[in-house]
Each structure stands twice: as structure tokens, then as C-alpha cells.
Amino acid sequence: MTLRFILTCAWKDLLRARRDPFGILVWIAIPLILGILITVVFGRGEATPQGRLLVADEDDTFVSNLLTGAFSQQPMSKMVFVEKVSREAGRARIDHGDGSALLIIPKGLSDAVFQNQPSRLELITNPSQRIVPNIIREVLSVVVEAEFYLNQIAGNELQTFARQPGSRVPTEAEIVSYTLAINRVAGSLRPYLNPPLIRLETTVAKANVSGKNLGAILYPTFIFMAVVFSSSALASDIWKERNAGTLRRLCMTRTPLLAFLTGRLLFVVMVFGAIGMMGVSVARWLAGVSVANFLGAVAWLVFSGVSFYLLLLWLVLHASTPRGANTLANLVVFPLSMLGGCFFPFSQMPAWMVRIGSKTPNGLAVIQFNALLDGSVDHSQLAMAGGVLLLVSALAWMLLVRRLQRFVI
């Protein structure tokens, strides 16, 4: 009988949610809407912005190739695709918004550079794009400056090399001769460069930020935010039941309150299941988040959500009014969410905050959720986090069962 009533309770809550869907739908819609917005604004795939540089190279010499060659090197080659066009075709395309920028290299650039004569490069940018055209402009400024200094240092050698007929391949003797000449120039600069005044230390950044788009970084956070806020809303619903007198009435039937609580928990599992399915699906197919273990991530979300729900339910039972219950829940939810990676991703938080936040129940849950999404699960860590959440749930459940009867009366 009790099992049947548990199902009846869950069904009752589903019907109530269906009749007044906005309370729950708002929380399910949050990750969906945020995910769609992020995808629309920043696009999917890797974080690197991508653009197309149209080049009208009317000089077509060693110098002009050196200029555009900068864009064929890593990491620029991943950001900017270079396409050679005629001046007219390039102009027409950029006017139609096709391309990030048009670079016009005038005939005679090479001669002007070697004769230290002024020359003019023309860069026409696409006003509808903001990031890539700026990158192109900056790279070009650096390359133009580099060419100036290179010409000052090894101008004679470069001139000799550049004046070779385009089709002729330099002989090995010539290459050795140029190399030795440039080496001599570099040797004469050594006193100024050695010992180096600035020592460059290179640290390889962690791979967790690079290679992920903004959606991938933020989206798991949004899903957890929805779960924590839904937990709070679902927990506060017990006050509606209390004020309506339905809980008191139930105490006067043969059914124990425990059955009601279990039925409610079943309903909560269904709600979190729906949020999880919806959230992870949106993450995967709309926001471009890599999802290594779809079902695992959803199951973990439900499991964590149930823990938060039980904890918050126990908490709101201690309030004396519904408003007090909301305040009490918010007092816990907001600081925990901010610290525990449910507002801002851990990767964007200061180290001291991460140290604290990763010890909170939601922090533990968020870390493992991310690991399940990107496939970097450490099973011992997952088991430990699961154990902590299970302990929190069990403790909250025991305290709840003891508290509920007093709350009802």
C-alpha cells in the first residue's frame, strides 16, 4: 500500500507541476536560454575566433609574401585564413561583408622597402566584425615594424636574395653565403643581446581553458545553478502544503509521512532528470560542450540535486514562516553557489576561493560533473564526492524525518 501511495504522491506533485508549470519551467529554461544565447553570441567550437583576410597582392615579391606569410604561421593560421584576390573583387566582397578585412599591397612595395622610401599598405576592415579585424591590424603593424628592422640589419643580404629571378632556385653555395652573411650580422649584434637582459620563462597554461569555447566553460555552471535554485524552490513548496493543511490531514490518515516524503523525492528525481536531460542536451548540441558521458552526467546531476534538495528541505522546516523559509534558503544557496562554482566557473575564480569552494557539497558535485562531461573522471575522486553527497543526503533525510512531524503540527 505504501509503495502505491508513494507513486500516488509523486503523481499528485506531477499534476500540480503541470497545472502550475512556470515555477519549474523557469528553472529548466534557464540553462536552455543561457546556452542558446552564448552559442548565438560566441558561436560553437573552439574559443579561437576565425576570420578571412582577403589579400590583393599587386607587388607579389619576397617582401609582400613575407608580409602575408605571417598569417600562415601558428597560431595565426588557425585564426585567419588568407585568400588572394584582385583589388576589385576584394573590394566588392568586403563591401558585402564577406571577409574580415581586405589588405591591398601596392606594386613597388619591395623596392620602396629596400630603398627606405615610404610606402602605403591599405587595410579595409569589415565593420560588422570586431575581434578578427583588430587582430589582423595588430599583426600587420608588428610585421611591418619587423620588416623595417630586418631591412636595417640585413638589408643588403635580403636585397641580393630578393633580386633573384622568381623561378630560379638559389644554389647551395648562395644559400651558405647568405646564411654566413646574416650570421655575421647577428654576431655583431651579440654584445647587445648576450647576456640577455630579459630572461623569458615560459609556463604552459592548463588545457582546461584553452580549447573550450565560452559555452563549454560556463554551461555546466548554468546547469548547476538551475539545479540549486530548483532545489530551493522545490523545498519551499512544503510550506504551501503546510499552509493548506494537507500535511496535517495526511497525518490523520493511515499513511505515514515517510511515504509522502518518499513520493516527493521521487517527483524531485523526475524534475532533476528533466533538467539534466534538457541541460546536457542543450550543452552538447547547441553550446558545443563536449559530453563524454551523457547518462553519467545526467545521473550525477540528479544525485547531486537530490542532496541539495534534502539539505534545503531540512533547512526550510526550521523557519517559522514561508518568507522566513525563503530567506533562510537564500542565505545558504547564494554563498554556497558563489563559492561552489554554481555562479562562476572554478577556472575563472581566484585560487583561494577555489580551495574553499571545492570543499562545499555543490563544489564537489560541480567538479565531478565537469569531469563527467569532458571525460576526465578520476574514479576515486568521483567515489569520494559521491560518498560525501550520500552522507549529506542520509544525514539530511534522518533529520528531516525527525523534524517533519513537528513541522506539520
Partner: protein, 314 residues
């Protein structure tokens, strides 16, 4: 059957129910009367298993509500004072839920829902959300949810509070139907006219104690043939004493003071209508200011006032 024996419920130093005893038999409508805070709802709470008694014993159909609570509650139907329904759900959905809580299932549940919907006149609105119902309809559905599992004992706590006259008549008919079907009904109210027309036996409760119990006739006999005369105005104890002395001297003896506050005086006397002139004269002579008079014939209400010194709705 409900057997309440020396029931006691206290919250710290506050004693809400203090040694209440009564027995309600099958087919009987037993009335529990008392003003707000008298201990009626606490008594109902203890019988229904919502509250654990501090002392005494309560049995429902022979089952102790503490030791054998589940069996006791199985026999029990409760219609609480508040409208304890899910407003988003329809009448049928509410009945299914509360029937399910009492262990009904499948065909039996469907049949009982149909029966009580018909009995309460809600069949044509069965699938509408309760929030669209009028107050009277909600009260009827509240009643229906209490009887959906055909209980042997029915606890009705202020069932007709705030109900329109039509719904009230219908609800009282339903209570009578339950009693005629052999159900033991415990009915708490502070509508004395309802208690007089509905209840076969009554207990008057005040400050957690039963101060009078019996059939309506037995209770009326306690009152005798004495009327209650309530005077409003300004009355000091010296004024009251002087007036009573004068009245006794004028053969208006046998007047009892039921209660006296600064602005209200309640007297119990026989043949009050004939003695009104003498009473007014006596109070005028001692300098009292009488602004209003109410004369009440012997009734449950006058008995209640006589026993408690206050009106039931105070």
C-alpha cells in the same frame, strides 16, 4: 465508537486538555461545544493521532490511538476545520489522493469517488480545478475527502464554518446520513443551533475541561426554567450589591449573578419578563446606568453562558 478517558494534553506549563472523558457510540452524533481555545481541536488532534496525548487514553473502534495508531486511523475519517485540499487539482484528483492515503485502490477507489461526488452534489464539477470552486463547494469537497473511504468513525471539526446557508443545510444532511448509516460522529462547533438540531449527546468544554455533558434534555434540565438577563451599562460591585439587596426586599429574590464586568452584568432568574420593571427600578435607585438589555430563554446557549460566564463565540 470513540472512547476518551481522562485525556490530557499539555505543552510545557500550558494545559490544553485537562482530563476530558466521553464516549461516542455508533450511529450517534456527539457534539463537542466550546469557545475558541477551549481545547476542542486539541481533543480532535489527540483522537486522530495528529497529537500524542500527555496522559489518559483514547480508543477508536477499540484500537488505542497511541499503541495501535494505524488501525485506529484506518477506521477514522477526519474533516478538518481548514479546507485541506490541493487547489490545483480537480475534485476527482483530490478524492483519488485522499482515498489512496486511506488505502483504497482500483475499482473500489473509483466507485467511492463517484459515490461521494454524487452525495455532495459535485459530480458535474468533478474535473474542474478546486480553485474555481465557491467556498461552499470547497467545504463539501473537504467533507467528501473525509468520508471517501467510508470510515466507521467521523471527526468533524467546525465543518460548516463560513459556509453559505444552502451548503450548510446540505452538509448537515450529509452528517445525519453518515450517522444513520451507523457511523460514530464527533462534531465540534460553536454554532449552538446546529448542535441543538444535530447532536444526540453533547459535551461542553472550557479551559480544557468538560464542564457539562449529556443529552440536550439533560443539559436543559441543568439550566432549569431560569432565564438569562444581560444588562449593559456601568456597574460597580457596590451598585450591583445595592440593587440586589433592594430586589430581594421587593420579593424579586432568587436572582443569581452569572458574571459581572465593569460594563456588563449577566443575571439568572426565573420569570425574568415579569420582573424587568422591578430590576430597572432597583438599578436606577442605586445610581447604575443601564444602556441595554437582552433576555434569553432557557437554551443551550444560556446554559453555556451560565456555566462559563461567556458566550460561545467570544
Amino acid at each position: 465508537m470513540i472512547e476518551v478517558d481522562e485525556l490530557r494534553k499539555s505543552y510545557g506549563d500550558l494545559v490544553a486538555v485537562d482530563g476530558v472523558s466521553f464516549t461516542a457510540k455508533p450511529g450517534e452524533i456527539f457534539g463537542l461545544l466550546g469557545p475558541n481555545g477551549a481545547g476542542k481541536s486539541t481533543t480532535i488532534g489527540c483522537i486522530s493521532g495528529l497529537l500524542t496525548p500527555t496522559g489518559g487514553r483514547v480508543r477508536v473502534m477499540g484500537h488505542d490511538v497511541v499503541r495501535d495508531g494505524t488501525a485506529a486511523r484506518q477506521a477514522l475519517g477526519v474533516v478538518p476545520q481548514e479546507i485541506a485540499l490541493y487547489e490545483d487539482l480537480s475534485a476527482t484528483e483530490n478524492l483519488h489522493y485522499w482515498g489512496g492515503a486511506q488505502g483504497l485502490r482500483h475499482t473500489q477507489l473509483r466507485e467511492r469517488c463517484q459515490t461521494v461526488l454524487e452525495a455532495t452534489g459535485l459530480l458535474d464539477r468533478a474535473n474542474e480545478p478546486v480553485k474555481q470552486f465557491s467556498g461552499g463547494m470547497k467545504r463539501r469537497l473537504n467533507f467528501a475527502c473525509g468520508i471517501v473511504h467510508a470510515p466507521k468513525v467521523l471527526l468533524l471539526d467546525e465543518t460548516t464554518a463560513g459556509v453559505d446557508p444552502q451548503s450548510r443545510v446540505r452538509l448537515l444532511d450529509l452528517v445525519r446520513e453518515q450517522a444513520s448509516a451507523g457511523v460514530t460522529v464527533l462534531y465540534t462547533t460553536h454554532y449552538l443551533d446546529e448542535a441543538e438540531t444535530l447532536c444526540t449527546r453533547l459535551a461542553i468544554v472550557d479551559h480544557g475541561k468538560v464542564i457539562a455533558a449529556g443529552t440536550l434534555e439533560e443539559l436543559r434540565a441543568m439550566m432549569g426554567e431560569r432565564d438569562l438577563l444581560r444588562l449593559t451599562g456601568v456597574f460597580s460591585s457596590a451598585v450591583i450589591e445595592g440593587a440586589l439587596k433592594q430586589l430581594n426586599g421587593n420579593q424579586a429574590d432568587g436572582i443569581e449573578v452569572v458574571s459581572a464586568t465593569g460594563d456588563q452584568l449577566t443575571l439568572s432568574l426565573s420569570g425574568a419578563a415579569r420582573k424587568l420593571a422591578a430590576i430597572f427600578n432597583a438599578f436606577e435607585d442605586v445610581g447604575a446606568e443601564v444602556r441595554g438589555t437582552t433576555l434569553t430563554q432557557p437554551s443551550l446557549e444560556s446554559l453555556f453562558i451560565k456555566l462559563t460566564g461567556k458566550e460561545l463565540r467570544e
